[in-house]
Symmetry: C2
Subunit: 220 residues, 2 copies
Amino acid sequence: MSNDEKIYQKILKAIVEHQLPPGARLPEDRLSEAFGVSRTGIRKVLQRLALEHFVVIARNKGAQVNHPSEDEALEVLDSRILIEPQLIEGVQSHWNAEQSERFRDLVEEEHEAEQVGEMASSIQATARFHYELAQLAGNSVLATFVEQLCYRSSLVIAAYGTRSSVSCDCGDHSQLLTLLDEGQTKKAQAWMKHHLQSIKKSLVLEGQEEQNIDFQRLFS
Amino acid sequence: MSNDEKIYQKILKAIVEHQLPPGARLPEDRLSEAFGVSRTGIRKVLQRLALEHFVVIARNKGAQVNHPSEDEALEVLDSRILIEPQLIEGVQSHWNAEQSERFRDLVEEEHEAEQVGEMASSIQATARFHYELAQLAGNSVLATFVEQLCYRSSLVIAAYGTRSSVSCDCGDHSQLLTLLDEGQTKKAQAWMKHHLQSIKKSLVLEGQEEQNIDFQRLFS
DNA sequence: TCCGTTTTAATTGTATACAATAATTAATAC
DNA sequence: GTATTAATTATTGTATACAATTAAAACGGA
């Protein structure tokens, strides 16, 4: 893996794991000395992150972690609701014992992270479950798009998520695996749709956005 | 629009209109003198085009117009087949006389370009019809993705297309507009699916070669 | 002529310098 | 003391220089 790619991965990880919260500034020189490269390499990475909507770059003002709008948040989830259930069919056709075991390991990782209370790795593992499943459907163009949507979802959850956004109350991913094991494609599709919809519902879209503080009253 | 953006648009246009054929090399210094900027700006644009799969960059070997593999070609079309029909519902709900007229104008442009035999603008207009329709569905995340898929389709057609890939034999886009006018959502969905499938079928999957390009004249 | 090696040229990778712009602080007038 | 302006600092935008790498040409021996 190239050096640029490693830097990209590290920053992206920090963003989706909420170590760099939405709105955090990302000055080029600070990053360049942190990673031990010149600004040139950092700029390249930031441009990429901007194209993928993980950061926003304002001319002459630099980059900061994207704080998705409410519209963007909903659209990201809606996109997943439209695509991911449709991929189940392809997943089912590639399903076998080996895959089943591999994904159960992933679910196990999710559980462990959640038990220990490590929000960061829990989010990471959950996203990974979804986009590795997408890869199995056999269309890498769509799989890449879903992967990006999963990461963007992490950012959305950072901005608007609640506890149940991470470990949603419709049950865990192992239920889906069981349905796939049993060859119940339709039910698996329905499960996936419901799963994503419940994540969407768990978002709280209000409050912290633009709170216009009335200093007059506050200090009178 | 920033200067970078203008350069990006021009190169992208040249690619999707087949003036820069798949496989064409894009040396940084040649482009930088053609556009009158330093290599820095050109590199930025090339990186973006690479992320969007319009060019491929090989380390120490530079960029060239992507020649999509057969797999990629099929996956791009399959992605559209999966997504675009699903957007019809949202399109229908936003449909009105004004939109109808706007899209009929677009179809008119397609016809004119085709009459004159201008492959380039014909391809451009056809892509535009599809992604502007996608925008109407009300999900800008998906619309952006569909837009990219449409442009990538132009590249696929450059590599594997035939005459009927651009002006497909299942009839023109005005048929879809009529269905939308009549509120026949299901039929419109089916039409869209069939339309994209017939484009996919029109591809002939085998290869060809490259040539030499005068960047100075192309971009002056 | 053909093949392999060596040398040369062309091209990209990375760092740095300087200019342009925005943000912050200091200064001044009222 | 406050508000407005000026000066300073910090940060990004762009071009260029040089190193690293690859591709191409020249060369020599069989």
